[in-house]
Amino acid sequence: MFGALARAGSVHVRGTPAADKAAVSGILRIAYKLLVNDKGKFAALLMGLTFSVFLMVQMTSMFAGMMKKASATVTNTGAKVWVMDPAVTNVSSAIPMPDYILDAVRSIAGVKYAVPLYAGGALVRLKDGTYQPVTVLGLDDTSLFGRPNLIEGKIDDIYAENGFVVVDDEEYPKLESPKIGTDFELNDNRGVIVGIATVPASGLFGIPTLYTTFNRAVQYIPSMRYTISFILVEPQNVLAIPHIQEEVKRLGYDVLTEEGLIDRITNWYMFHTGMGTNLLLMTAISFLVGLSISGQTFYTFVLENMEKFGALKAIGAKGRELVAMIFFQAAVTGLAGYGLGIGLCAGLIALAKLRVPDYASIITYRNLALALGMVLVISAFSGYIAVRKVLRIDPYDIFRG
């Protein structure tokens, strides 16, 4: 009876897709159990990867946060096309353009409308006599294109005498949290808060933002002969943009889409200041730390299980099955470490923002994708060095002890 039972075990079911799927799932289940049931080593593997992912995401999210803040004026304004001097590298370093450029841009075929934007800095005198730098954005007097979303007050009041709208963001308290009707002194001129607004992103340098009309901004803030910082263009349609770009370039000025300008700002910070380079360097170091810790730990894990893999090989496991097991283990470890690292990073960012509202750190999909890519590289590398070893096991060694 037992012989029949034993023989029943040798029935071939290989070959059918369903059987293959079931078998692969069984082999991977064994691999999973071998991995997670070895709690000490699995914890060490996870710690290495979690730490690495945490560092990578922390660095890249800090960079993304800073870049979001650096491009705040661009995103807050919402213009599709920006005209500027070719030497402009970011919004805070605008080079004024003559008025005739605005007229010339308005005359280009495909331009629905074009408006000027003033972006500059000023000093606000606080009640205690100290001065607080502010960013002043002067919106086109006619259209107020690029105005912020008001949470208090009416936008029309910006036309009132000395009218300013203040942005209620992390920097708002630096102006002593003014209310509607609060007056203040800006570059020796009187200003009155007529509205309180919110914007999607606040600036990078921790400076409060005030909105007013273009003409008032030019009037209040000392300017050179030229006054237009940027020209905001609304094209008739997307297809018109290349033509607009071509025509504006003929005038000797630059045209960028919103995304293009954000990229230019990002590239400038990344490649022309130490900030981006340092953060990228730290990200690379985090990657290398993760690669070495995880690679070494996983390799040790496999080395310690070498006899078991040898026994599997002797029993009849094929090379590709062992490879699948090892890469699956590496992938499980990588993805678990990825999840934990992201969670840890998100938790710490949330915690940090509770204490430091200005903390510039955001986790973007791009950061997540980058970290995932790096984790997959770490997992693939760890799996690869382990697979090389496992495939060289000679089951004869299992017999020899």
């Binding site: 037992f2 012989g3 039972l5 034993a6 023989r7 029943a8 075990g9 040798s10 029935v11 071939h12 079911v13 290989r14 059987a19 293959d20 079931a22 078998a23 799932s25 069984g26 082999i27 289940r29 064994i30 159990k33 071998l34 049931n37 070895d38 006899e307 078991k308 040898g310 026994a311 599997l312 090989k313 002797a314 029993i315 009849g316 496991a317 094929k318 090379g319 099955e321 000679d394 089951p395 004869y396 299992i398 017999f399 020899r400 002890g401």
Partner: protein, 232 residues
């Protein structure tokens, strides 16, 4: 039915080259039959383990052939050899090589999983083999919680799960005390050896010689003619 399970002819295996060349197995020829418990005995370094590895499709000989039933083992390519071991052979290693992080029943299910059996079916079937070796009540424990004798029986159940025609035992009593070792071999002869199965045991434990159907004595890589090569 042909009763010859294994036919080994002219097996030779050497290691090293030049002056360091050493013959582990020299021109070994023997047959093993179904329903036979065949011992290969001899002192350490006599080539027993090397011979065992050659007949089980693990170590390629320099010369000679091994036929298991109608299969010329060393004519098979690597994947076919792996399949051959999985379908035809059951191994009981000297150190058992059980997976300490898997439950006992999962250890036994490994060959079934490798044979493409769905996980739950494999576990159910593994339970039957654990019942055969009397360890059904230990199925949920990890092997580290079992005694040496119990671990040996789990290893036997795992080997049985392949449904093998040929079972290979490498020093089955080396990790066990005398009484347990004897009980294990007695159990193997009583429950595991069937009409359609041949069991080859490598050992130098004289206390279990009494259970052998036949003993092949090796020394310096050769089978000793006459001396020690006898029907038990």
């Amino acid at each position: 039915m042909d009763t010859v399970a294994i036919r080994a002819e002219g097996l030779t295996k050497s290691f090293g080259q030049g002056e360091t060349k050493m013959y582990a197995v020299r021109d070994v020829t023997f047959d093993a039959h179904f329903k036979e418990l065949l011992y290969i005995v001899g002192p350490s370094g006599s080539g027993k383990t090397t011979l065992l590895s050659i007949i089980s499709g693990i170590l390629r000989p320099d010369a000679g052939t091994v036929r298991v039933e109608d299969t010329d083992v060393w004519s098979l390519k690597e994947n076919a050899l792996a399949d051959f071991r999985l379908q035809k052979l059951g191994f009981v290693f000297q150190d058992f090589h059980l997976f300490p992080n898997l439950r006992t029943v999962e250890n036994v299910a490994i060959p079934l999983v490798l044979k493409r059996r769905p996980w739950n079916d494999a576990l159910k079937e593994a339970m039957k083999y654990l019942e055969v070796v009397g360890l059904a009540n230990r199925s949920e424990l990890n092997p580290t919680r079992l005694s040496g004798g119990e671990q040996q029986r789990v290893a036997i159940a795992r080997a049985l799960a392949s449904g093998p025609d040929l079972m290979i035992f490498d020093e089955p009593t080396a990790s066990l005390d005398g009484d347990t070792g004897k009980k294990i071999v007695e159990f193997v002869k009583r429950e595991v050896l069937t009409d359609h199965r041949c069991i080859v045991v490598v050992t130098h434990d004289e206390r279990i010689y009494e259970f052998a159907d036949r003993i092949l004595n090796m020394e310096d890589g050769r089978l000793l003619a006459g001396k020690g090569t006898a029907d038990a």
